[in-house]
Symmetry: C2
Subunit: 240 residues, 2 copies
């Protein structure tokens, strides 16, 4: 009997995306610390659209044209830009109904890599349950694309991807066959009661902690703070 | 105070090796199902040396010169070759003191990728404790290089790498800072009481089971069957 369930799989890094694509109608781009969390926070705060660009140069070109533009590299705001990827920097009154430009170390790179997929949405702990339920309603094959850290695996994106997979599989309509997805689910299940504690030794968390970004980390690891799903349309992120 | 501990890290796939190399004096190549298990079994059985080659064509050239040559692709012996990568195929009386040639889907590819490291040794569950103790005595930085499955992450290599890391860290002289290494250790700790059960849903185990290779799987997942450490010297694997 053929298995009629849809697939939900986890890809650990943008570099491995070519081995996965083609089989999935929906790609969920995840960069928990902090790009996709910041993007969810921005739409929750009423931003109109975000133009994600892979390089600082492209972001700067937009800034010269008069756009509000954000750029983050190595966890910090690039000099001369208006903001970086702290979720709190998007909670500004003057961002409402604005179109802004953003480039980050890892997150906007994954958005760029995935841009030709049928549907590209943005996931984080902030919109976890709302996004997972929406995905289940679509009944399509889903790939969770983790942004990682400089082309390497990271724990927080993987755990978020594992949470989404676990939800979809629990509906009975989804299955995972890749070992990466099975590992992500195992890691989520052992982390879910205490994300902050579980991730205390994670390399990226340590890196941000050194930059005194503890409030950002706590915020980004707190599930279900918003009911928005940012979606990529014609090269711009907008609210679904 | 500077941390004087050595590092032990885990790289999930040969494709990611470039992001890790240079920092590690010793690379442990792991392909549990089945290349590095078969290589350990071969040395346990008294083989003299194994010449690992990345392609079937290179292995065939050796065969034409009169070598005993093995080739595995998609889990099966390539037509015309003398053997594949089942550990049992190396338990032959006529292999004692012989030099043979081998190419496999994943394992010989990792050996090729890592060949310029200072020291390259072969790891598997079969020589787990013996190898781990030897590594601890070297007191050098260690990278566990998982072979994965066709450039993707796999569970069994990761768990074996996690076991080696866990041992080295338990000595107090080693630490891990990469998220991949932390994940490997978590996965090992939840798998260690029942490897076969834990890996029952793993993609590669399913694939081999379909080829009726259950005996191979059980053998490869049984730790500490031998005290050999295959090491790469001038392009050949020999017993340390």
């Amino acid at each position: 009997m053929e298995d009629s369930r849809k697939r939900v799989e986890v890809c650990f890094t943008p570099g491995e995306y070519p081995y996965y694509k083609d089989e999935f109608e929906i790609v969920v781009v995840i960069d928990v610390l902090r790009a996709t969390s910041a993007i969810c926070a921005a739409f929750d705060n009423g931003i109109k659209s975000i133009i994600p660009v892979p390089t600082v140069e492209e972001a700067w070109d937009y800034k010269l044209k008069g756009y509000l533009a954000g750029a983050e590299r190595k966890g910090q705001i690039v000099e001369g830009f208006d903001f970086g990827n702290s979720p709190f920097s998007y909670m500004r009154e003057d961002f409402k109904d604005k179109e802004v430009v953003l480039t980050t170390t890892n997150g906007t790179k994954s958005l760029d890599v995935a841009k030709n997929a049928e549907v590209v949405v943005v996931g984080s702990f902030l919109n976890l349950d709302y996004l997972s339920k929406w995905l289940a309603e679509q009944n399509k094959n889903v790939l969770c694309l983790c942004s990682g850290w400089q082309d390497k695996f990271n724990l927080e994106d993987t755990i978020c991807a594992g949470a989404i997979s676990d939800y979809l599989i629990s509906t009975g309509n989804y299955t995972s066959i890749e070992d990466s997805s099975i590992a992500a689910k195992y890691l989520f299940l052992s982390a879910k009661d205490n994300y902050l504690g579980y991730l205390k030794s994670s390399s990226h968390r340590r890196r941000l902690k050194n930059l005194n970004l503890n409030e950002d980390i706590k915020y980004c690891l707190t599930p279900n703070q918003t009911e928005v799903i940012p979606i990529l349309k014609d090269g711009k992120l907008v609210k679904l």
